[in-house]
Amino acid sequence: MTVFSLVIINKAGGLIYNRTFHEGGLNKISTNDYLVLAGTFHGVHAITARLNPVKSAPERPLSNSIPGVPGGILTRPEPPSGLEVLESENFRLQCFNTLTGVKFLLFTDTTQTNVDVIIRRIYDLYSDYVMKNPFYQLEMPIRCDMFDRKLLSYIREVNNR
């Protein structure tokens, strides 16, 4: 069970963070290729949300809920989500899309479990050590020492489990 690397993509599809934790899991690709990968993934993610074959019944809750529904709150169907997990023969990619549109991509080996827990924890670290850093500019590459340190020690703990 190994976590290979983490990629963070901002809401415009730009690469803002990229770190490899375990050598040999994935091929080494240049930063330029990572930028291309981030942009491609951003586009593919939007398409995968649109490809949803399951159509929710249109307008039904609206017409039913008007008379006699306590509270009268209309239920809105969940918006279609994009790609969440990608599997290949050599690795597994989990994508966590935050409400603000930031994407966390975690590359792990195929047997890694509890990836959603790990990715939430990384989001916590991001909120604590990136978003609360007064010198961090939104949408720009993340260069925060504290975040780096906390992330590395957390992933080391996960990889040694």
Binding site: I29, I47, L51, P80, E84
Partner: protein, 187 residues
């Protein structure tokens, strides 16, 4: 287990076969009335239709046209997606790595590519396990038997020529219904 749709793409990136098992869209009566605006395709269909006074036939024929357009758009989007993801996987995982599937909250897409760059794509619900062997079976038992070994089928299936034959359709339908029946029995 629910199977939504199945696509085959040839090595020229063209969609040569597609089949959906989706429920039909909601009845035309349930649709809002504001879509009776004239459009060129709708008018052409209506004038060739003897019952063109009935707005229902006009609307249903137009929705058939738009459904066909949507299906071909979907096929193109699906090809673009699997093509990008396959290249991404190959770049990260090495040349021998293969893209298997991805899952969203609503559906799961399975991918299988043969050595001759024939690509099989299947959309199912999220709980379905790997369908790779299923698509491999379709390739061996249906594609090779009924399309490749068919002396009348062309080498290149331009526009789906030679794929949509009776035996292939029948075999595929039987195979998929058998699969779903089996899964239902186990549950």
């Amino acid at each position: 287990m629910v199977i939504y749709s199945f696509y085959i793409f040839d090595r020229h990136t063209e969609c040569i076969y597609s089949k959906t098992w989706l429920p039909p869209p909601p009845a035309p009566g349930a649709q809002p009335q504001h879509d009776i605006s004239t459009s060129t395709t709708g008018a052409a269909v209506a004038s060739s239709d003897p019952h063109h006074h009935n707005p229902n036939t006009l609307r249903s024929s137009r929705s058939a046209v738009s459904a066909a357009n949507k299906a071909s758009d979907d096929a193109k989007l699906i090809f673009g997606t699997v093509f990008s993801l396959r290249n991404m996987v190959r770049k990260l995982g090495g040349e021998d790595d293969a893209f298997i599937s991805y899952r969203t909250a609503q559906y799961k897409l399975h991918y299988y590519e043969t050595a001759s760059n024939l690509r099989f794509v299947m959309l199912t619900d999220t709980g379905t396990l790997s369908m790779r062997n299923v698509m491999h079976q379709i390739y061996i038992n249906l594609w090779c038997e009924y399309v490749v070994k068919n002396p009348l089928a062309p080498v290149e299936h331009k526009g789906g020529a030679g794929v949509r034959n009776e035996l292939f359709e029948l075999g595929l339908n039987q195979f998929i219904t058998g699969l779903i029946g089996q899964a239902g029995g186990q549950r």
